[in-house]
Structure formats: structure tokens, C-alpha cells
């Protein structure tokens, strides 16, 4: 399975590859269209990466858990579910509409990687001064939509791992904020459409609004990364409604490959 989008240079490579494939498909003497070479892996080095419209379970509903999506920050690509008990992935999106985020930890009973070699963990970072710009009370509707600039500010401000390893979540998930739990989350879920009382709930009810809260990820192999999630809707709309298709995750992450906790990473690898 291919990675949806990585850096601009990777895009360029993919466009060339795609053009090659299209040209090959147009050839009359194509010997075997099934015998396409798999896309070569591109080495992921320390740096900042943006992933747009990561295809999770776009057929999910509000009753059943979505099909989990496993993602490798180390390799910047989707990992098949058959490899969930390996160290090949770092975060999983699962639960209702893929809205819960799980670490890969072989000793964490509720990690999908349970029983495997993963040493991963998650930690949600909150900045009070940023939160106050869009949010008053935990569990209550947002006072306004957080601007995209706040997401980038929170991401940039996170320059190191702010806690010791024992503070990482290893056996549960980072979920929606104060929804069915008393815990802080990565997004606010407006069940009734309370943020928009003048609009019908058929348009604004059951909408998930990402919050500018970075997630520190200890990868399955033990490196550190930071992730900011922008949206779980196709096209990452800033003001989503029910017309937007769920199950498409847009995020930005920075990974440190040298084993340190230095997350003061700004460069997008060439």
C-alpha cells in the first residue's frame, strides 16, 4: 500500500512514477500490466513530514469500530494489519471513525501490538495559553474554531519530550476529548451540534474538531516523534460538517532518528 503524501520532493518522484505507469498502460505491447514493480521505499530521515488524506476506514459508521489503520512514522507509510504484532508501525487509528490513537506496545494489554516487540507510547501535550484561545471548560463545546496557525504554533513549540518515559500511555489510547471518559483528547466531538445552534444537527451534529495539541510518540523501535493532527475529514476542511467524508486523516509529524529527545526539528528532508 502506498503512502498518500509525504514531502514535496517525494510528490515529484511519485508523479514521475505515476506518469511512467500511465504511459506504460497506454502502450499497445504492454506484456503484463499485472507485473508492476512495487514502489520502492524511500528512506525516512529526521525531519518534518506532512501526510494528507491518509485513508483510514471511509466506510465506518457510528455503531461499530472502524477497521484500524496502522502507520509507521519511522518509514512514513501504512502498514498492513497482518503486521500488527511487529515493530513495523508506530501509531494506529482505531475505534469509532478511527478516532482513537493507539501506541505500539507489546506489553500494553489494549495496544493492538500486544504480544509483539513494540516499545511505543504516547503523550498528549497541552499548552494552556493555546487552549484558552478556543476552549473554556473540558467537555463543553469549543468557544471558537482553533485556527490552523495554532496547530503549527503548538507543533513548533514542542522542541523536546516534556516528560519521563513512565508518563507515556502504553496500555490505552488517546481518544476524543472528554467523550465517554474524563480524559483530555486530541479532538472535540460535538455530538449535538451545540457549537452551531443556528444550523441543523443534520449538518453540524456528530462532527469532530481537531484541537492544537501535539502528541509525542515513542516509536515501536524507541525513537521519538511529535505529531499534530489537523483533521479526520477528506480534504482537511477547517470548518467541517456532515457533507465531509470521514476516515481521511491529515497530520504533520517530525521524527528524530538519532534516539535523542530533541524534537527541535524544522527541516523537511530533500
Amino acid at each position: 500500500m502506498s503512502t498518500p503524501i509525504t514531502s514535496p520532493n517525494v510528490w515529484a518522484i511519485r508523479l514521475i512514477l505515476a506518469a511512467t505507469v500511465i504511459m506504460a498502460a497506454c502502450s499497445d505491447d504492454d506484456p503484463d500490466p499485472e507485473a508492476e514493480e512495487p514502489e520502492p521505499d524511500i528512506e525516512v530521515t529526521s525531519g518534518v513530514y506532512t501526510v494528507v488524506n491518509l485513508p483510514a476506514d471511509s466506510t465506518a459508521n457510528s455503531i461499530n469500530n472502524a477497521t484500524p489503520l496502522y502507520y509507521s512514522l519511522e518509514d512514513n507509510k501504512i502498514i498492513p494489519a497482518s503486521q500488527k504484532q511487529t515493530a513495523n508501525w508506530d501509531i494506529a487509528f482505531l475505534g469509532i471513525y478511527n478516532s482513537s490513537i493507539a501506541p505500539n506496545n507489546g506489553k500494553g494489554q489494549f495496544s493492538p501490538g500486544y504480544g509483539g516487540p513494540g516499545k511505543g507510547g504516547l503523550y498528549l501535550v497541552k499548552y494552556d495559553d493555546i487552549d484558552k484561545q478556543y476552549y473554556d471548560t473540558p467537555g463543553k463545546p469549543l468557544t471558537k474554531l482553533p485556527e490552523r496557525a495554532l496547530f503549527d504554533e503548538a507543533f513548533t513549540r514542542t522542541t523536546t519530550v516534556p516528560v519521563t518515559d513512565d508518563k507515556f500511555i502504553t496500555a490505552r489510547y488517546i481518544d476524543l476529548d472528554h467523550f465517554n471518559s474524563g480524559t483530555d483528547g486530541w479532538a472535540y466531538y460535538d455530538f449535538y451540534g451545540q457549537m452551531y445552534p443556528d444550523r441543523p444537527s443534520s449538518e453540524k451534529g456528530h462532527i469532530c474538531y481537531a484541537m492544537p495539541r501535539p502528541i509525542i510518540v515513542r516509536t515501536a523501535k524507541g525513537n521519538y516523534a511529535k505529531v499534530i493532527l489537523y483533521s479526520m475529514y477528506k480534504g482537511a476542511p477547517t470548518d467541517p460538517d456532515r457533507s465531509h467524508k470521514a476516515g481521511f486523516i491529515t497530520l504533520k509529524f517530525a521524527i528524530q532518528k538519532n534516539g535523542t529527545k530533541n524534537l527541535n526539528i524544522t527541516e523537511t528532508p530533500k
Binding site: N65, P68, S82, Q85, T86, Q109, P112, G115, P117
Partner: protein, 236 residues
């Protein structure tokens, strides 16, 4: 005087020529180590050269579905499958449905083949009969749509011993219904309440024709098909 005689005797004995016998050379087509690496801590297998086996005691509570291994062999030898090869569908290997053999070839081409055994020591699965009187199969109506839009599911309660609760966000128990022609249909869902109690959700009536069905329960590497069938009838 006596001490002097004793010393002389010892010196004479010390001059006796001794013969050094070299131990027989080890075959050069051996597996030296076998390690499972995709577990929270590495699990080392026991390599037995006498009966050409590798035995891995893999804790069942890891519920591993695949196994990544590393092995070392005699110097210069090669092995197939190679070190680092992933064994997919591990449950079939545990059950013995798939046999994995490693062949080591030394530098002169001499081969030795080892057979892999994976022991999980999973506690024996027990499933109680749902129908206790074979002459009167217990009846369940298949699931249906109320007023053609509301899903109404039928749950078949199943009891037993050593069923597993959900681990790693996924139930470890599957239930399959098998009709008299041998056609299989999976339960829509399985809810595990404890190690002794689960429910299996029946498919809709258009997916599951009325009739007698045997029930098969699978829990990781153990499988039981209970003896007496149940009867599926159409919903009212």
C-alpha cells in the same frame, strides 16, 4: 627415606606417555540458536540435534499471529528458510496444520533438516453443548430488520472454559455456524464477557437459511465443534 621413595615413584609416573584423544568434530550443518524476536522479550527456542527439532515455548497469552525469527548456523553453512523470515499464519503452525522445516547445508553440500514445534501451553478449551437433548435442537431466530430499517440481532449464548477476553482491541474468539451441507457462515460478532461466557450474533435471515447448524468455536490455537446442532428458524 620413605618420602624420597614416594617422590621417585611420582616422578616415574609423571614420565609415562599420555595420549590425547580429540573429541569428534561437530557436524558443520547445525542450527546453533533459534530466537523469536517479535515478542516483548526474545524467546529462545531449544535446538535438539539428536532428533532434529526446534521447540519454541511461546506464551499463549501473547496471541501471536505471526512469528519473526532469527537463527544462527554453523560457520559457512546456509539455511532455508533464511534467518529473518517471517512465519505468517502462526496459528496453523501451532496446530500442526502447517509444518515448518529448516534445512541447513554445510560448505560441502551436506544437509540436515530440523522440524519446528511451537508449544503455547494454551489451557484446554471447553465448550458446553447448547442443545442438551439431541432430539430437540435448541431454536434461535436469525437476525432481521424491524420495519425494514431497524437492525434486530439475535445473540446465541455460549458457555465453556478458557475462553479469552478481548486483547489488543480484538476479540480472540470466533464462532462459525455450519449447516447440514457443510456450508459455513461466520457470526456477525462475538462478545466475550468472561473466560466462561460469550455470545455469538447471528447473521440476518437472508444470509442464513433455516435449518440445523453445528457450532464451531475457535479461540487462538484451539478449536471445538460442539456435537449437537442448533436449529435456526426464520424471524417472526
Amino acid at each position: 627415606m620413605l618420602i624420597a621413595i614416594a617422590c621417585t615413584g611420582t616422578l616415574l609416573t609423571g614420565c609415562t606417555e599420555t595420549e590425547t584423544i580429540e573429541p569428534p568434530a561437530q557436524p558443520a550443518n547445525r542450527i546453533l540458536t533459534y530466537t523469536v524476536v517479535n515478542t516483548p522479550d526474545p524467546v529462545h527456542g531449544a535446538v535438539n540435534d539428536n532428533d532434529s527439532t526446534i521447540t519454541v515455548y511461546l506464551p499463549y497469552y501473547y496471541y501471536l499471529s505471526l512469528m519473526q525469527t532469527e537463527l544462527t548456523v554453523s560457520e559457512g553453512a546456509t539455511v532455508t528458510p533464511d534467518s529473518g523470515t517471517t512465519l505468517d499464519d502462526l496459528v496453523r503452525v501451532i496446530k500442526g496444520d502447517t509444518v515448518i522445516r529448516y534445512t541447513v547445508t554445510d560448505t560441502k553440500g551436506k544437509k540436515k533438516t530440523y522440524t519446528l514445534h511451537v508449544e503455547t501451553q494454551q489451557p484446554a478449551l471447553e465448550i458446553d453443548e447448547i442443545t442438551t437433548d439431541a432430539a430437540a435442537p435448541k431454536e434461535f431466530a436469525s437476525s432481521y430488520l424491524y420495519q425494514e430499517k431497524y437492525e434486530v440481532y439475535t445473540a446465541v449464548p455460549i458457555t465453556g472454559k478458557n475462553l479469552f477476553k478481548n486483547i489488543g482491541n480484538q476479540t480472540q474468539v470466533t464462532v462459525t455456524f455450519i449447516n447440514e451441507q457443510g456450508t459455513e457462515i461466520s457470526a456477525v460478532d462475538v462478545n466475550v464477557y468472561s473466560t466462561t461466557s460469550i455470545t455469538a450474533i447471528l447473521p440476518f435471515h437472508w444470509q442464513m437459511a433455516p435449518g440445523l447448524y453445528r457450532v464451531r468455536v475457535e479461540c487462538y490455537s484451539h478449536t471445538i465443534t460442539i456435537k449437537n446442532p442448533i436449529r435456526i428458524k426464520s424471524p417472526q
